[in-house]
Amino acid sequence: RNSVNRPPTPDAAEDLGKEPMFQEIINIKLIESGEKERLMELLRERLIECGWKDEMKALCRAFIKKKGRNDVTVDDLVRVITPKGRASIPDYIKAELLQRIRAYLVQAAV
């Protein structure tokens, strides 16, 4: 008898990474161990040092000046800075964070 809710078999390793349930489990591990917070602080610090945050704030200010500060929503600003924000992360920062995350996944025996 096959259960409909049976989780995928472990050999489908590639698909596993995309499995939302699996990602959620890892996420919880990250949060509970405190590693997510540390990673976040590290990324925040790096992004401030390299001026990325200032660039984003400048984009926000320009948008606010145009639209008028009374009409602006947080969603507006998120929409404004997300494309440029994601694209303009310096490679060395991305590399450092990815390295840290992978190290965590390894030691968490994922």
Binding site: G17, L43, C60, L77, G85, L105
Partner: protein, 178 residues
């Protein structure tokens, strides 16, 4: 974030990218939220100054474009902080308490000068005039002349030049010493 090369990535790499994207999105929301807060609370001084300058420049442009404004008119009809304009000469009209004429408020002081006898003409007017409430001046005697009660608010003038007592009222008019 996850791109077109998903199949080539090891699961760890892909997972890492996923979580990196997660962290980045959170930080983006934080930055947006911070900027939003600063804007709403008016904490950005530069934004305030720019808004102020923008407003002043549009105001100035409106005023400059308005054809009914001439430079002279502007200087005379200055607007005070309550938004009121005042004509250059006070134009309320009332009755002079000395001669009974209708006088414009802004012209009252010069009128009083003539009316109450600072000048030659006024003194001649006083001795010759027969209207009620006019002062009488005796010729040469050291008399203190008290003005009738209707004039008590102004200074008194005497033919011999000595200063009289100001503000006293006598219902029977002038007082003369023998």
């Amino acid at each position: 974030m996850s791109g077109p090369n998903d199949d080539n990535m090891s699961p760890h790499t892909q997972l890492s990218s996923h979580f990196f994207g997660d962290l980045l999105d959170s930080i983006i929301v934080d930055v947006a939220s911070e900027c939003h807060r600063i804007a709403k609370l008016g904490l950005d001084r530069n934004l305030e100054e720019e808004e102020e300058e923008l407003r002043l420049s549009t105001q100035a442009r409106v005023r400059a474009a308005d054809p009914s404004n001439s430079g002279e008119a502007n200087s005379k009809y200055v607007v005070d902080i309550f938004g009121q304009t005042h004509p250059p000469v006070a134009n309320e009209i009332f009755e002079c308490m000395n001669c009974g004429r209708s006088i414009m408020a802004g012209r009252f002081a010069p009128h009083l000068e003539k009316c109450m006898g600072k000048g030659r003409k006024a003194r001649l007017k006083a001795t010759r005039s027969s209207t009620a409430a006019q002062n009488r001046y005796s010729r040469g005697s050291p008399v203190s002349t008290y003005s009738p009660y209707s004039n008590s608010s102004s200074t008194n003038r005497l033919s011999n030049g000595t200063p009289g007592v100001a503000g006293e009222e006598y219902s029977n008019g002038t007082l003369e010493e023998p």
